[in-house]
């Protein structure tokens, strides 16, 4: 799909701006992320078409190319965003698939039991270490031992709910 359409070049509307500012404020407050990077994430959720050139993304949300690179470094390896070549060799294309974000969240949650096993192994590795040194990993092991049981159950219930026919 071409990304040089009029739609791709127009500036965000007030409602779109409100949304991307809301996403940015959330990430700044909760992860300390600079606002420009959060706006970029927000825009990638609602942009039309879903595929945008890196250059047009920078122009739309008012961020630097380094911000685009940072967000791609964060979200391409995990599969939330896809990066591909652009017709202009100095530019590239970025896209978020319709279900990429929820699928990513579910994949992270599905791996919590694996993470817990690694933490158990770490506790064993420090079995003879002083209590003060063990405290960090023991605290994590307790939490993720709990989450490795609870979270898969939450996701299973969500999937089950999604399969059920909607009441009219």
């Amino acid at each position: 799909m071409s990304v040089t359409t009029t739609e791709a070049l127009r500036q965000p509307t007030d409602a779109e701006r409100e949304f991307i500012d809301g996403v940015a404020a959330y990430y700044q407050m909760n992860d300390g992320m600079p606002l420009a990077r959060g706006r970029l994430i927000g825009w990638l959720v609602i942009c039309d078409p879903p595929t945008q050139s890196a250059r047009s993304l920078s122009a739309k949300v008012g961020c630097d190319e380094s911000d685009v690179d940072y967000i791609l470094g964060l979200l391409v390896p995990s599969g939330v965003l896809q990066r591909s070549e652009a017709p202009d060799p100095d530019d590239f294309l970025v896209k978020m698939d319709d279900t990429a974000w929820p699928e990513r969240v579910k994949a992270v949650f599905a791996n919590i039991p694996v993470f817990h096993e690694i933490l158990q192994q770490g506790c064993e590795a420090l079995a003879e270490a002083p209590a003060e040194r063990r405290r960090r990993i023991e605290s994590m092991e307790r939490l993720f031992g709990y989450l490795s049981v609870e979270i898969p159950a939450v996701i299973e219930a969500y999937e089950q709910r999604s399969k059920e026919p909607m009441e009219i």
């Binding site: 949304f19 809301g22 969240v105 605290s139 969500y158 999604s162």
Partner: protein
């Protein structure tokens, strides 16, 4: 996917420590982080002492200063790690005992706020061509569920911890 830390790390970590740090790195690599970044984070979970100089971490794990800087850039604002500047451009990173617990709790309990942003987006950005809002709609559906369930999961953990 990387298999192991550089040989220098084998000389400066015990076998069990190295296995843990490498497994941590591999786990984070599967989650989309560069392998050395996960190793740095894993080391900070078990390091002795909890407070480590960036230069020491590089020497011990055989990772670059850029790797440690990247971990600091991502994890300090998220309050998983504390950073203190030292003379000469070096700095320390440390993980508090309850840092991970606080970070997970904070994330789960912030999701109702994230969901509200998505819901408002769906309400406000109307009159769109078919399919445009699919990304936002699929996120809103999952987060509407998780924003109720996950704070409850954390509350049950707190209750369980209090009774233990």
């Amino acid at each position: 996917m990387s298999d192991s830390l550089p040989p220098i790390a084998a000389e400066r970590l015990g076998d069990a420590e190295r296995r843990f740090v490498e497994n941590f790195g591999r786990y984070y690599e599967r989650e989309g982080f560069a392998y050395p970044l996960g190793c740095v984070l894993g080391w900070l979970v078990i390091s002795d002492t909890p407070c480590q100089r960036a230069s020491e971490i590089c020497e011990r794990l055989g990772v670059t200063h850029a790797h440690v800087d990247r971990v600091a850039e991502q994890m300090v604002p998220a309050e998983l790690l504390d950073r203190e500047e030292l003379d000469g451009g070096d700095y320390t990173l440390s993980m508090r005992d309850e840092a991970w617990h606080k970070a997970v709790e904070h994330t789960f309990c912030s999701w109702p706020q994230f969901h509200a942003v998505m819901q408002s987006g769906l309400d406000r950005i109307d009159d769109q061509p078919p399919g445009r809002m699919n990304r936002l709609r699929s996120m809103e559906d999952l987060f509407s569920y998780l924003s109720v369930e996950l704070p409850t999961v954390m509350r049950r953990f707190e209750e369980k911890s209090r009774l233990a």
